[in-house]
């Protein structure tokens, strides 16, 4: 039977995979992918809480859904900007290794 714990575990695995990705990958695209994974893990958690918990005292029952939609929009916008930056970095350094970005301070 699929219950709240199952969704939370999947969300947590996604989030941790994202963290693992951004901490270990030097590639900017991989980093962006890690960030997307983390965002989606969190969005899944919000959706699961919205589906399974309906406490009486909650004033607005659609809060979880709203957060999910915001996160998806945010992720889309973020992906657009991040990809634009990555293209610019590539144009300048012909590489998208994050270590190379240090050279920007020079």
């Amino acid at each position: 039977m699929i219950n709240l714990q199952s969704f939370l575990v999947v969300g947590m695995i996604l989030f941790l995979l994202g963290i693992f990705g951004i901490l270990t990958r030097k590639n900017a695209i991989a980093l962006l992918m890690g960030i997307e994974l983390m965002l989606n893990g969190v969005a899944l958690t919000f959706a699961a809480f919205d589906r399974f918990i309906k406490p009486a005292e909650m004033v607005n029952p659609i809060d979880g859904k709203v957060f999910v939609i915001f996160i998806i929009i945010l992720a889309a916008a973020e992906a657009a900007i991040a990809l634009a930056i990555i293209i610019q970095v590539f144009g300048r350094y012909e590489d998208i290794n994050l270590e190379d970005l240090k050279r920007m301070k020079e």
Partner: protein
């Protein structure tokens, strides 16, 4: 003739010489010498005329009212304070004593001014000389006419200044300048005593409720001091009149050249001879005698002070005369003779026979001025040679100078019927008969010294006459040729003074010689302290005996001089060889100058050195230490500034720098590093929350 206008015009007397100073001082340089000399002499003559008018008016007054005052303005006024009122007017006072003094001063001054025209004719500072001389007459008249002790002191200092200026008149010669400075400094020592005496009198009278310095008021209230005594450290209680009297006499020893301050007068002969005649023989040096006469009411309260005056002055008379015996410089002989004669005057004062002192002052002014002017005439002829060993035989070449000089000599040694005889005899007999309640032997002692001195005076004066005018001329050939009698402008004053040297004595012929002693009668109202003293018995027989004794001694003195310098010229040599030590002692003036040099001067030098050392090492040391301390403090302050204040500022800056440097390591520019940090902090916060 109505003369009472002079009551308000006494200031005319000093005004004329002051005018002379102004005219000659400012315009003299473009006037002819004759004009300058005439103006200077005439101003003094006008002054003499004004004095004479005042004198005529004075004798027209009844005897007890013979004193009048011309007040010009209030000089010092303290207002009414708690202590009382103190007021000194600038006023001149004319009484018999002032009259005698002012007449003598102006008359002798006039003659000397005239003489100086001839004497100073070739001097290039002719104008300056007459300005100084007029200034001197002005100061001297202030001195004798001033109605307060303070005004007297102004004149006293004024004549001192002129004396200094005229001694150093030929200032190119260092010797003259030194003599001037010596006179000035020695007088200053005397003035110190005079000032203290004056202050003490002022203060002691003030404590009795009378704040004054004018003579008439002091005279009125002087009795208040009768029983006042002053406690001195080491000495104990001294009666106020005694102390004040001795202090004032101290001042007189400076101005009137008495022991111990006479040393300046012989050196003062460095000035032009008319100056020696006027200032250092006839007038200025007698101001001490005048001052004691003026303050006689004070001395009347203190027999001790009088005795001190008599003893010190009789010693001066004797010692100065002994020095005069051995000097070869003609002017030096006359200078020591002046010191000695001043001693006589003070003996007269010291035995409270004030008239005789003033009488001798007057006759001395004539004959001593004449002697000096005569020596000036000799110098003029001898091309400024003063050494009597180079003179001799001038009798024929300079008859007028010789005869006048001889008359003055006869007067000074007290030859009968010459002026000096009456005055000196008056002093000696007064001293013999005087009583002193404090020191009974003082008058007799003074008489004895004066008696001996009379003989010595006869010797040294005739020695001078014989060496100068008799025998062969011993001058070098080229000087011999120039010897000539002086021009009339110089000889006429000599003749006039010679006449007065004879007749001036007849104003004071004592009763014992059949005279009326007019001078004593005239001056008596001034001697208030003698009013209560009963006329003491004077035995005529004793007086005649004394007179004959003195004359015998004088005769012996003259004969010894004749024997030693005319008959047996080798005789002095023998005496000198027989008593070489005594002779050397006298010749070197008892080494007084040397003693003063060894004590006071060397002491002063010593003190100066000590003070210099103190200055260099202590005062400068303190200053340098302060400087050094300042530098040190500044250094410390600088150090504090540099290391503490700046250090704090720099530390703050450094802290920021350091934190910046530490913190900038965080911002490495590596995105993953930030992520590590962010996640690390997140984990940390979670851990803390869990724990």
């Amino acid at each position: 003739m109505e003369l009472s206008w002079i009551r308000n015009y006494l200031w005319l007397i000093p005004l004329f010489p002051a005018l002379g100073v102004i005219i000659n001082g400012f315009f003299g340089w473009k006037m002819k010498k004759t004009t300058v000399g005439t103006i200077a002499s005439m101003m003094v003559f006008f002054s003499f005329l004004a004095t004479f008018v005042a004198f005529l008016y004075l004798i027209s007054l009844p005897e007890e009212h013979r004193l009048f005052t011309t007040t010009l303005w209030t000089w010092i006024f303290t207002g009414n304070s708690l202590l009382g009122t103190f007021k000194i007017p600038l006023a001149f006072q004319f009484d018999p004593l002032s009259a005698v003094m002012a007449l003598t001063v102006t008359f002798v001054s006039f003659l000397i001014h005239v003489y100086s025209i001839g004497y100073m004719w070739h001097d290039r500072s002719f104008v300056r000389f007459f300005v100084y001389l007029n200034l001197f007459v002005f100061s001297m008249l202030i001195l004798v006419l001033g109605n307060s002790l303070l005004l007297l002191f102004v004149g006293w200092e004024g004549v001192g200044l002129c004396s200094y200026l005229l001694i150093s008149f030929w200032y190119e010669d260092h010797k003259n300048v030194n003599a001037g400075i010596k006179a000035f400094i020695v007088n200053r020592v005397g003035d110190f005593g005079f000032l203290i005496g004056m202050f003490l009198l002022f203060w002691e009278l003030g404590k009795q409720g009378v704040w004054t310095l004018t003579f008439t008021e002091i005279q009125q209230h002087v009795e208040l001091l009768k029983d006042v005594s002053i406690n001195l450290p080491l000495i104990g209680a001294v009666a106020a009149p005694t102390l004040i009297g001795i202090l004032l006499y101290w001042g007189a020893t400076g101005k009137s050249a008495q022991i111990p301050l006479y040393v300046w007068l012989p050196d003062a002969m460095a000035g032009p001879t008319p100056v020696s005649a006027l200032i250092h023989a006839a007038t200025m040096v007698t101001s001490g005698v005048y001052m004691i006469g003026r303050m006689n009411f004070l001395y009347g309260l203190s027999p001790t002070a009088l005795a001190v005056v008599a003893i010190v002055s009789s010693l001066t008379a004797f010692f100065a005369a002994t020095i005069a015996m051995t000097q070869f410089d003609l002017k030096k002989v006359l200078a020591y003779s002046t010191v000695s004669q001043l001693g006589y005057m003070f003996i007269g004062m010291g035995v409270a026979a004030y008239t005789t002192g003033i009488f001798h002052l007057m006759t001395h002014a004539f004959f001593k001025a004449l002697l000096f002017l005569g020596s000036g005439s000799v110098m003029h002829a001898m091309s400024d040679i003063l050494d009597m060993r180079l003179m001799g035989g001038l009798k024929k070449k300079m008859p007028i100078t010789f005869w006048t000089f001889l008359i003055a000599t006869l007067a000074i040694i007290g030859t009968p019927f010459f002026s000096g005889f009456f005055s000196k005899d008056g002093i000696l007999s007064a001293a013999y008969f005087a009583h002193n309640s404090a020191i009974p032997w003082a008058p007799k002692f003074a008489w004895f010294m004066g008696f001996i001195t009379a003989g010595i005076t006869a010797f040294y004066m005739f020695r001078a006459v014989f060496m100068t005018f008799y025998g062969e001329n011993r001058a070098p050939e080229e000087i011999k040729e120039h010897i000539h009698e002086s021009p009339p402008i110089m000889t006429i004053p000599l003749i006039i003074l010679a006449i007065f040297s004879v007749i001036a004595g007849y104003v004071g012929v004592p009763h014992s010689l059949g005279g009326h002693n007019l001078l004593n009668h005239f001056l008596m109202p001034v001697w208030v302290s003698l009013k209560h003293v009963a006329e003491h018995e004077e035995s005529l027989a004793v007086e005649y005996t004394l007179m004959i004794l003195t004359l015998t001694l004088v005769g012996i003195g003259v004969y010894v001089a004749y024997y030693a310098y005319i008959k047996h010229p080798e005789f002095p040599e023998k005496v000198v060889n027989k008593f070489p030590r005594l002779y050397k002692l006298l010749y070197n003036k008892y080494y007084v100058d040397e003693i003063y040099y060894a004590t006071f001067l060397a002491g002063t030098h010593r003190l100066t050195k000590i003070l210099r050392w103190f200055d260099v090492h202590i005062i400068d040391g303190i200053v340098n230490f302060a400087g050094w301390l300042g530098v040190r403090l500044a250094f410390i302050s600088g150090w504090i500034d540099k290391y503490i204040v700046d250090g704090i500022v720099n530390l703050i800056a450094w802290i920021f720098l350091w934190t910046g440097q530490v913190l900038r390591k965080i911002q490495v520019g590596s995105v993953q590093a930030y992520l590590y940090i962010g996640i690390g902090i997140l984990v940390l916060v979670l851990l803390i929350n869990v724990l």
